[in-house]
Amino acid sequence: MKTYHDIAGDGGSRILEQVADQQAAVEEALAGVRHLVAVGSGKGGVGKSTLTLQLAAVLARRGRAVAVLDADLNGPTQARLAGVVEAVPLPGGGRMSLPRARAGFGVFSMGSLVPESRAVDFDSVAPGSSHTWRATREFTLLGEILRSVAWGRLDALLVDLPPGAERVVQYAEFLGPRTDFVLVTIPSALARGVVSRSAAALAGAGRRALGYILNMDGYACAGCGEIRPLFPAPDGRDFGLPCLGSVPFDPELARLCDQGVPVTEHPDLPSARALAGAADRLLHALEVAP
């Protein structure tokens, strides 16, 4: 009796071929993108999204063609950070055109489409079982977005990942081997522990992380201007990766983010200087990457 592998095709639907076609269409849509950079952490609340948007703004200021994809479909923040809340994607040239951040680059975020008072949900005939299918549905949607956008020629597409150490690996597999990762952490031992797991998971999956950025690394004292610690001294763990930069907590940066203003409009802020340095090191890492 024949077994599964003795039989070509599935008798009709070509399910596997359809999925392969979807993946090929994603690769075709991203053909003009030189670097695919995923910004992740594993830990939530460490500033992945803020750094993604601001790094993109610095890179744009440096004359690089960039775009940002908010892959956090359930907790999207890039629309607010980029000032494109309610600025919906529109059709153009057979594909989807993205609203532009103030810094001039395209941004896709579900936050442009779904009000913050609402949750993103999917139709289902299997109520109460979203744990069995939701991740699949989300990656399918992400693929659909990737292949529908007119990305054009980009030096870098920055992908803002959702939290979750396991998600880092899922996205590594989904985005493919050409993706470079940047991990974001804060100095706390809690966060560094989780990010360490993400770094290990990436290494285990054979995926490349360009380095990490240490966010909220102290704050500028309003009185004396000195950078003072927010967390106990870091444990010295470097994740086996280069540190691309260290960004102090900056209330002014937080205010700008809420208003959708890129930090490049205020280059003298301590956080702006730190982000500029991190962006330059990221650029260098991308240029020297094999």
Partner: protein, 201 residues
């Protein structure tokens, strides 16, 4: 999943798929050798998982082909696409923000019709605005007062096919808001271009 006719030791061919019934798909297979028929009846979990892959189920030549227009039309009707929890859709809270059709909210339709290549989508297109003509003064021209539901021209509706099905109803709502804010009774390609310019595209 593959099915084998054991007596013939031949792979069975997918013959047809019945319309979804309460989350279940009925997929009929036939043995090309002896003609024996059997049906695979999926439970809602199985249906949901397949739907989550964004694929279509059907006989060779019907499913898997680049039938994007029909797929998009089904999606246009809100089937197999998004529903925003607890309400018809983003921007609908002000009443006038909703399109007023089941098409955008997905109400009243099986969300799994998009799995089936043969789904009748004619009403979906109409509900999506494609069947309605311009109203008011010239197309895209400002009306005296904002229309509650701007009407989409066929051409503008067709261009929206470039937007992923899941995102499209939300994008439509956003464009309708853009049009209403400017007093346009009709959304045509000129309005889309104006929106593109406004959003810096």
């Amino acid at each position: 999943v593959k099915f084998l006719c054991v007596p013939c030791d031949q792979p069975m061919k997918l013959a047809d798929v019945a319309p979804p019934d309460r989350g279940s798909l009925s997929v009929r297979y036939v043995c090309p050798e002896c003609g024996y028929e059997m049906a695979m009846l999926t439970n809602p979990y199985e249906t949901q998982v397949v739907q989550s892959l964004g694929v279509r189920v059907g006989p060779e030549g019907a499913a898997g082909e680049a039938d994007t227009a029909r797929a998009a039309a089904v999606a246009e009707a809100g089937v197999g696409t998004t529903s925003v929890s607890g309400g018809p859709g983003p921007g609908a809270g002000d009443g006038a923000g909703a399109t007023g059709t089941d098409a955008e909210s997905g109400g009243g339709r099986c969300p799994f019709a998009s799995l089936i290549p043969g789904s009748d989508t004619a009403s979906a297109e109409t509900a999506g605005g494609g069947g309605a003509g311009p109203s008011g003064g010239g197309s895209g021209a400002p009306a005296g007062r904002a229309a509650a539901v701007p009407v989409w021209t066929d051409q503008a509706s067709a261009r929206m096919k470039a937007i992923p099905a899941f995102v499209r109803p939300m994008a439509r709502t956003g464009i309708e808001k853009f049009a209403r804010d400017r007093g346009y009774a009709t959304i045509d390609e000129k309005v889309l271009e104006e929106a593109r310019a406004f959003f810096g595209m």
